[in-house]
């Protein structure tokens, strides 16, 4: 059999590394949920959007908050509405079905075509949350006791789950998933990413900016290292400001777009001064 059909190859606005592409394809083929971890700004959430675009499927986003419960994703039985309706004679409340609304996971299950379901930042919820979804994600079905009905997925959705590793996910949950840790992109990859976002900006400027960017990231003791989105903002600012390439290597204009924390800025200035000013750490 050999090759899996490479269905997903990244999309126009998203660059996926080759290993990631292959992992996405295997998880789509097997219908297993894909858990994505990585530093902020490595494009975890965007991945799901990109998969949906590339495979031409509808995307359903389930944003997890600290108060989200697993059941919210399945269905909500709007008892209050029913109680309210019961006070007036004009509505028929005998049909419970009218008050049962599918949650995001439920929507993904009953959809007539395969969808991409993004469960975003699953680690924000209670520590038990993933365990409550074990069976639902495994069998892709759930039971509604009020109706005594089984809701099974018509088409197994492509499930992408992102986590910021704020809380560790339970082992039992992870065992059923495919896992990938997105590394921070290297220089070459970053260049391609920037190119996707700003195809028109001069290559030289981009190169120099990226070089600076990685240098700043390597400064010890930063509270928050600048990430991809900050780099993109910065490059945009540089291009709009009409800053010349030489200027980037001699000083760092718009430092505020990269470092958002006052302590970091101080720290950075201290370190770069101790290196004898900007731009001396160039390598051929």
């Amino acid at each position: 059999m050999g090759n899996v059909v490479l269905g997903y190859k990244g999309s126009d606005d998203y660059i996926a590394s080759r290993p990631l592409m292959e992992i996405v394809n295997v998880s789509v083929a097997l219908g297993k949920p894909l858990v994505i971890k990585g530093e902020p700004g490595t494009g975890k959430t965007l991945l799901a959007h990109s998969i949906a675009t590339a495979l031409n499927k509808r995307l359903i986003v389930w944003n997890i908050k600290s108060t989200t419960k697993a059941r919210d994703g399945l269905y909500v039985y709007d008892t209050v509405q029913r109680l309210n309706d019961a006070r007036f004679k004009d509505k028929d409340i005998s049909d419970i079905r009218k008050y049962i609304k599918p949650g995001k996971l439920g929507q993904a299950f009953i959809s007539d075509e395969q969808v991409v379901l993004l469960i975003d930042e699953i680690d924000k919820a209670d520590i038990e949350f993933p365990n409550d979804l074990l069976n639902e994600l495994d069998e892709m079905s759930f039971h509604i006791p009020e109706l005594d009905e089984e809701v099974a997925a018509k088409h197994r959705p492509v499930v992408v789950i992102t986590s910021n590793s704020e809380k560790e996910l339970p082992d039992a949950f992870l065992r059923r998933c495919i896992f990938h840790y997105i590394e921070f992109p290297d220089v070459e990859m970053m260049e391609r990413i920037v190119k996707v976002h700003f195809p028109d900006i001069e290559t030289k400027l981009v190169r120099e900016a990226i070089k600076r960017f990685y240098w700043i990231r390597e400064v010890d003791g930063l509270r928050k290292k600048p990430s991809t989105s900050e780099l993109l903002d910065w490059i945009k600012a540089l291009a709009l400001g009409g800053i010349s390439v030489d200027k980037i290597s001699s000083e760092i204009p718009f430092l505020g777009t990269l470092l958002k924390n006052e302590l970091d800025t101080d720290r950075f200035i201290k370190v770069s001064n101790s290196h004898g000013g900007f731009g001396l750490k160039r390598r051929g």
Binding site: M1, P19, I23, V26, K37, E168, R176, I178, M189, G284
Partner: protein, 405 residues
């Protein structure tokens, strides 16, 4: 097939379960894998390893298991072969030559476009069929062509650089994920994540409070008959006492302890967080400041704090025998103690059943009489992420009586 790889992974400390292994093997039999080691590395890892903390161990195992197999390469591998064993005839440059070399480099930068160079490189790669040393056009070693390694063409393409997909064995060899290992020393954020686990206590011993949602739910289901539902309060009840050693032997670990301290004090979800310092070992007084100036009788800990407090003691637990077991054993010249330290420690453990000892030194160095003795009073853990997690686990489970020998 590969079953010994499974055992190797487990031996290296990757917690692979049978379920994961089976689905990995299934996927392989069903043809979801391309017959390539690269593919096996990345996709296999996605199946078998569920935390970046274990990536490094996976790398090690992969290297050991597949290291002997030649990885089929991207074209770079072919090129790299030509570049093995560079000619040992490179002239040493003196400073003048070096300067000239630098100048040329700048010139080359100006006149050449990198993309153009890459294009040429690919073309030449297509044409070139064999190894080439010296000379000025082909890709090889020791020459002055812009392509190759160990040569002196300023600013040319160095073959052997990063590629977006290196052969798997090489990535494994690099061990890029070493820093994600769990058993390395903790940083503040990691520590906070670990300490967050203490949030699990949240519903412990809580009062009852009205659950409005459930009440409405129930009432509606009962058709309007009011039905009150009570739930446990979600208030966090964790109270912490941190006791830290500031003795001389702890000096190398100051920063480590600071991190734990700052992580703990930044945690907002503890109901109460108290910290005290001590010097080498705990006697009748502990101190409110690092300089051991403001003393607080240890007795006060017992009268002020109830036994629900969780106690973390941080120290290397290494001291002279007398410091732990003797009256007046305290190392400070001006201090006297009429009870040996070990008695105080036992009283702490008695009063605070939920207490643990965190030791910043490595487990291998715990073979010391006072460390042993203290380890018998308090469960002792390494001051690493894993150790901290274990410590928290033991705190959340029921308190055990001190180990008796």
């Amino acid at each position: 097939m590969f079953t010994d790889f499974f055992y190797l992974l487990r031996k290296k400390g990757v917690p692979v379960s049978v379920t994961e292994w089976v689905s990995f093997i299934e996927a392989m039999y069903n043809g979801y894998f391309q017959s390539s080691l690269n593919h096996l590395y990345y996709v296999g890892r996605a199946f078998l390893v569920k935390s970046e903390a274990y990536y490094d161990m996976f790398d090690l195992a992969f290297q050991e298991y597949f290291g002997g197999i030649k990885t089929e390469g991207v074209e770079l591998d072919k090129v790299l072969k030509w570049l093995e064993n560079p000619l040992q005839r490179l002239p040493r440059l003196n400073s003048e030559e070096m300067e000239e070399f630098q100048k040329k480099l700048e010139e080359f930068r100006k006149t050449h476009n990198m993309e153009e160079l890459m294009r040429q490189f690919r073309e030449r790669l297509k044409e070139q069929k064999e190894r080439h040393d010296g000379g000025g056009k082909w890709i090889g070693t020791g020459g002055t062509s812009p392509f190759g390694a160990y040569g002196y063409h300023p600013g040319g393409i160095r073959v052997g650089g990063e590629s977006w997909m290196q052969s798997a064995a090489k990535v494994a060899e690099e061990r890029r994920f070493r820093n994600y290992r769990n058993d390395i020393i903790l940083d503040v954020r990691q520590t906070k994540v670990a300490l967050k686990k203490l949030r699990e206590f949240k519903r412990e011993g809580a009062e009852e409070e009205l659950d409005i949602d459930e009440t409405i739910d129930k009432t509606a289901k009962e058709g309007g008959e009011i039905e009150l539902v009570f739930n446990r309060s979600r208030e966090n009840t964790v109270r912490i006492i941190l006791l830290m050693d500031t003795g001389g032997s702890m000096f190398p670990y100051t920063e480590l302890c600071e991190r734990l301290f700052s992580a703990a004090s930044q945690m907002e979800h503890f109901k109460d967080f108290k910290y005290y310092f001590f010097h080498n070992c705990i006697y009748q007084d502990v101190y409110e400041d690092i300089a051991n100036y403001k003393r607080v009788p240890t007795e006060k800990l017992f009268s002020n704090f109830h036994k629900g407090y969780k106690v973390f003691i941080v120290g290397d637990a290494r001291m002279a025998f007398s410091e732990l077991f003797d009256v007046n054993g305290c190392i400070d010249y001006f201090s006297t103690n009429d009870r040996p330290s070990v008695e105080w420690l036992m009283r702490i453990k008695e009063h605070f059943p939920h207490s643990v000892w965190l030791n910043p030194t490595h487990r291998n160095y715990w073979n010391h009489y006072t460390v042993d003795s203290i380890g018998k009073i308090f469960p002792m853990f390494e001051l690493t992420i894993d150790g901290l997690k274990d410590a928290i686990k033991s705190l959340t489970s029921r308190a055990k009586p001190p180990l008796q020998n």
